[in-house]
């Protein structure tokens, strides 16, 4: 009897306190197993190195997975469940970042880098403008050449 009273008096923080009442339909049986795995695979195990809650064998991940299962069974949507964990752990816990900037930034950086490299290469291959080539030396234009040609008796053309 005392144990029953004690159990009834125990209270743990509930998702409703954070994300309101369930917005979906309760999930059960085989679908519950499948959905639990799907939602848990979107959550990062906080005590592991880059593992999802679905894949981690740690006790923390097992507890989190159990909580996902319980919330799905009560009718909480995937969005509500992810939000619940995000409120406690921050965006760190989400394996799929919410902001698209995370995906776009590396592409922008790559494009900017490529443009800079191309401009630099073009600049290096162009180089400074070379001075105009001097006109070819002919006996008409240079008396010294004419005199040398006369001395050697060569072609005067």
């Amino acid at each position: 009897m005392i144990l029953l009273v004690l159990l009834l008096s125990l209270k743990v923080p509930d998702a409703e306190q954070f994300v309101g009442p369930p917005k979906g339909a309760p999930v059960a049986d085989a679908q519950l197993f499948q959905r639990t795995r799907e939602v848990a695979s979107l959550l990062r195990c906080p005590v592991c190195q880059g593992m999802s809650v679905a894949d981690s064998p740690s006790e923390m991940a097992i507890n989190m997975k159990e909580q996902v299962r319980e919330l799905l069974a009560r009718g909480y949507t995937e969005e509500q469940i992810l939000k619940y964990f995000e409120i406690s752990y921050g965006q760190f816990v989400l394996l799929k970042p919410k902001s698209p900037v995370i995906w776009i930034l590396p592409i922008i950086a790559l494009v900017v880098g490529a443009v800079l490299v191309i401009l630099k290469i073009r600049n290096l291959s162009g180089g400074p403008p070379s001075p105009p080539a001097p006109p070819p030396l002919t006996p008409e234009s240079d008396p010294y050449v004419a005199r040398v040609r006369d001395l050697v008796g060569g072609d005067k053309s």
Partner: protein, 173 residues
């Protein structure tokens, strides 16, 4: 053209230096929690070794330090004497509460009987309270003000100075 490339390079390098400088200056134990400045998740848990229920709301009115720990955690052993000493020194003006999860009752009792304690310890059976607080590992401590709002979080073993430093954040509010 060279000046443009140099200018962009300097901007990128300066940004990197700033990011590294800010990052290096940060305390790695001071993990930001989204729950800071938010009401602490409420719970009523069973005190270890008794059939008494400890409700978070009964601690309203004075600052409270909630320490998540476990007997299998080495750093928890390390910080335990500091927590007990601080509790003996600061109570009743500051309250202390231990929350144990992923552990066995007899081990917790054995630990507390052997090493002593100065404040209640409750059991978080399925770790739901730890999850609601965003606990990633143990030990982790949360500093609540008199109204039950989380004002600071510390990850890792604490000593007296760390406890005082984080309490200041609570008292500053």
């Amino acid at each position: 053209m060279n000046r443009t490339v140099l200018f962009v390079g300097v901007i990128i390098a300066a940004a990197l230096v700033v990011i590294l400088f800010v990052g290096l200056g940060k305390d790695p134990s001071a993990i930001h929690s989204p729950l800071i400045d938010k009401p602490a998740p409420e719970f009523s848990l069973r005190e270890v070794g008794t059939n008494k229920t400890v409700d978070l709301t009964q601690y309203r009115g004075k600052p409270l330090i909630i320490n998540f720990w476990a007997t299998w955690c080495g750093p928890c052993w390390e910080e335990h004497p500091s927590l007990v000493a601080s509790a003996r020194q600061l109570q009743p003006d500051v309250q202390f509460l231990g929350v144990v999860f992923q552990d066995k009752e007899e081990k917790i009792l054995g630990f507390l009987n052997q090493r002593g304690t100065a404040y209640p310890t409750v059991v978080d059976e399925k770790g739901k309270t730890a999850i609601a607080y965003g606990v990633g590992g143990v030990p982790e401590s949360y500093f609540l003000d008199a109204k039950g709002t989380i004002r600071a979080k510390f990850v890792g073993p604490m000593n007296g100075d760390i406890i005082q430093e984080n309490l200041q954040k609570v008292l500053r509010q």
